[in-house]
Amino acid sequence: MNAPESTYTQVAWPAKVNEIPKDIFDREDVYQLELEKIFYGPEWHAVAHAGEIPNPGDFKTINVGERPILVVRGDDGEIRTFYNACSHRGNLLETRVTGNAAEFECPYHRWLFDTRGALRGAPGDEDFSPSFCKEEMGVPTIRSTEYLGLIFVTCSDKTPDIETYLGRTKDALAITLNGDGRLKLLGYQKVLYDVNWKAYADNDGYHAPLLHAAFKLLNWQGGEGEQYGTENGHIGFESELKVPEDTGFLNDPSLLHFKGTESSKGSAIASIFPVTVITKHMDMINIRFAFPRGVGSTEVHYGYFAHVDDDEEMVRHRIRQSSNMLGPTGLVSMEDASIFSRIHRGNHTPGNVAFQKGVKHEDRIWYDFKQNDEAGNLPRWEHYRKSMGFNREEA
């Protein structure tokens, strides 16, 4: 008999809202409950952008939690989402990461599916069970929705509609996706960080001017902006885009040029709970798809995009900027990657971490922050705590 949930997932959650217990970052039992409550619970997870699979038959595979997902643009042009498993015995249906297919065949027993997920044929079906119904044996589907081209899936039928779910972060998301979400894929940078998924997603507004020396060396000041949270754990950043002046620090300053037209809110981040981050900095449009690889590892796929109306020069500029500024080797982000590893090992020490920058209250949650406050992560932690059913200790 399985032990009741409460006996193996007890966590001593501190009374102060700005304190987080460190043991949640390395406990296997907590991770298993996160899969159930969060990754397979009532949350939407971004798994693709329509710009990644523009043509009929284009597909992409990815994970939600540890569940394999198959995203396909069918021969009718419609994007559908499936669990990536044969409807017969559960064999992984597609092993490629991306590609184009006229059909999907499971090699185990040669069951054949079309790009809409329907079962087209199964050898020996005259000997199948009495209740076998070919029309009901398509590739198993997972509930999905689309917002500005972003394809979201959820394992739960209780998840609210996407606009309600995103709430205020719709504004930041629209900026990051260039307004209308009509994007063209430029490529990926993919990396496995040795960090618990929550610490990866806990990157904050406080560290940016301190950790990233490039901002200081380039005399690159951030523009005026705002940060806000939502009750269901999303975070939005919107700020004026400031272009660094050429200080002579770089031999090729063209990398830092801004060729877009909108700069009053030219930088934005939409951090969608639990683990998706979409950013627009300078001329870089970046969607970071991510999923846990166990309790101590997080795989991140940095997808970079152009807008479909870009001219050739703009596309070239986006390629140069994206390839050198962000990701696990980027001028202003490599240091983030190095911190992920360090913070994960440090989180194996006992006790709590305590957020400080921008913490106005210790007994309640609020939702508007300065852009360099680390307190902006606190509504997310509150949503996490409630989702997991962890009770706060008495003050």
């Binding site: 490529g187 031999n251 090729d252």
Partner: protein, 160 residues
């Protein structure tokens, strides 16, 4: 059978060895010195390369960008990352003369890394697709490191 002389092959190997030695000794100025003044360097995932997707992990498409790569490692990132030791192992696979004193060379590579804690693991594996110009000193006109390792196991500080 290749009709390229042993002397040429030795010259090609010498610049490749200078390149990997500069990285294994973390000498970024020596790394820069393996390129000529038209030099370029691209490090790109094989997945992107195969699908004609141009995003790279490092895209230094002119000599000024190569110089800035040295600045990234030695000035911008200094003191912010946990250092690691690399060991590059290479095997020249093919050599083709494509112009006067200019050769296209394909070389497999395998890079191990050892962080400060001392456990060694594979960083990335793949192949170099290079244009090498012979002269008084053989130099790279272009170097492309295509990574089979589409999902790198960690952040990458030094060029591949």
């Amino acid at each position: 059978m290749s009709n390229i002389s042993t002397e040429v092959l030795l010259a090609i190997d010498s610049v490749q060895n200078s390149y990997i030695h500069s990285l294994d000794t973390k000498n970024m100025d020596a790394w820069l010195a393996t390129f000529n003044n038209e030099g370029s360097y691209i490090c790109i995932a094989a997945e992107n390369e195969a699908n004609n997707l141009p995003i790279a992990l490092m895209l230094d498409d002119c000599y000024a960008r190569l110089q800035d790569r040295v600045t990234y490692v030695t000035k911008v990132w200094a003191g912010t990352f946990e250092d690691y030791q690399t060991r590059h192992f290479t095997q020249r696979i093919s050599t083709e003369e494509i112009g006067k004193d200019t050769y296209r060379v394909i070389t497999n590579y395998h890079i191990l890394y050892t962080p400060e804690q001392g456990q060694t693991n594979v960083l990335v594996t793949g192949h170099y697709d290079d244009e090498i110009v012979l002269g008084d000193t053989p130099l790279f006109k272009s170097k492309k490191a295509v990574m089979d390792t589409n999902v790198s196991p960690r952040y990458i500080v030094y060029p591949v």
